[in-house]
């Protein structure tokens, strides 16, 4: 099994979760109110009241063959709006 970690702006969460569903993953987990710094600058949660949102951390455990469809929809999204995605190995407990 593979573990995919995505970190991106909360505002783009909906299309990303849709992409995960469409790729055929059995589930996902979302942590919101995440902050950080990346190539596009720092993201804090102190403007949360403004609707601007902070980052979200999405974790997907999925079969290796789903990586390719995930990659093909997520890469352009992350490329355009910002955010990162990483893959590692994981086995069911």
């Amino acid at each position: 099994m593979k573990r995919v970690d995505l970190i991106l702006s909360e505002r783009e969460l909906d299309p990303v979760l849709q992409a995960i569903d469409q790729a055929g993953c059995t589930g996902y987990t979302v942590m919101r109110h995440v902050t950080g710094r990346g190539p596009r600058g720092a993201v804090s949660d102190n403007m949360e009241f403004s609707g601007l949102g902070a980052n979200a951390h999405v974790i997907v455990f999925c079969a290796p063959e789903l990586l390719e469809p995930l990659r093909s929809t997520l890469r352009p999204l992350l490329g355009y709006y910002g955010g990162i995605g990483f893959v590692s190995d994981a086995e069911p407990l």
């Binding site: 702006s9 505002r11 783009e12 109110h33 600058g41 804090s44 949660d45 102190n46 403007m47 949360e48 009241f49 403004s50 609707g51 601007l52 949102g53 902070a54 352009p76 490329g79 355009y80 709006y81 910002g82």
Partner: protein
Amino acid sequence: MDTSLILQNLLTPPVLFFFLGVLAVLLGSDLEIPAPLPKLFSLYLLLAIGFKGGLELQHSGVGGPVLLTIAAAVLMSLLVPVYSFALLRWKLDGFNAAAIAATYGSISAVTFITAESFLDTLGLHHDGFMVAALALMESPAIIVGLLLVKLAVPAGGEAGQPMRWGAVLKEALLNGSVFLLVGSLVVGVLTAANNPQGAEKMLPFTDKLFYGALSFFLLDMGIVAAQRLRDLRQAGAFLIGFSLGMPLFNAVLGSLIARGLGLEAGNALLFVVLCASASYIAVPAAMRMTVPEANPSFYISTALGLTFPFNIVVGIPLYMALVNRLLP
């Protein structure tokens, strides 16, 4: 006279708590109002201002002059981004220029609320329909901003992502703060018309608490604005000049229009404040989604780090003086 008005504004609890927030950041205190508490106050203020505006609107009614004022307000929210864009293009690319332009076409509800408190302190009357103007000025600027991007950057985004117009319009017309403001206005109108007793029972929440909650929220706004000030150094002298000069220019233009509309002093000040203020709620959120090519620290730090404090502290009394001088 200007200085006395400025002092009178400076020494009110809301503005003093705003300063306290700024000071916390400047001195390096770890005072923070953690999310989502500021959201609570932000939602509360929108609900309360909308509801109170609705009650008054129902009592004053919607006559010809009212509609004319609202139309002028919407017109300004369309116009300001256009000439702001032209000016900003001088130094910035199309994406950043459009995003900042939209920000200044839209309004800041908290600046408006602070101006209302200022008027109450002076004992000057103002009308509920100005809240309707406030509500209607938020969305158009977002759409103009996106049209400007379209026109200036015909390719439609580096990565060639097609503009999602549906999402954009939804964001412009239905984003949470616009929706809550307009909705509460309508609830206020309906309540005043049908259920004066219910309106009465809302007052301890929407009225009595308002001044204190505004002060508390401005404490947080002071913290956030001061944190944004740092980004401003990166933005450079041109943007700093813009974020102080543009409100002043819009204020003068707004005062002349207010005079032309024959508004009384209280409403005129609110009209001017709507023109002079810039959005750091609805518009930045919409821009981040729809013009990701623009650098958020530019449009947020100008509107929130400089224009907002300027308006809250100096602008409102200054515009009052302007209005007093210009109005017959």
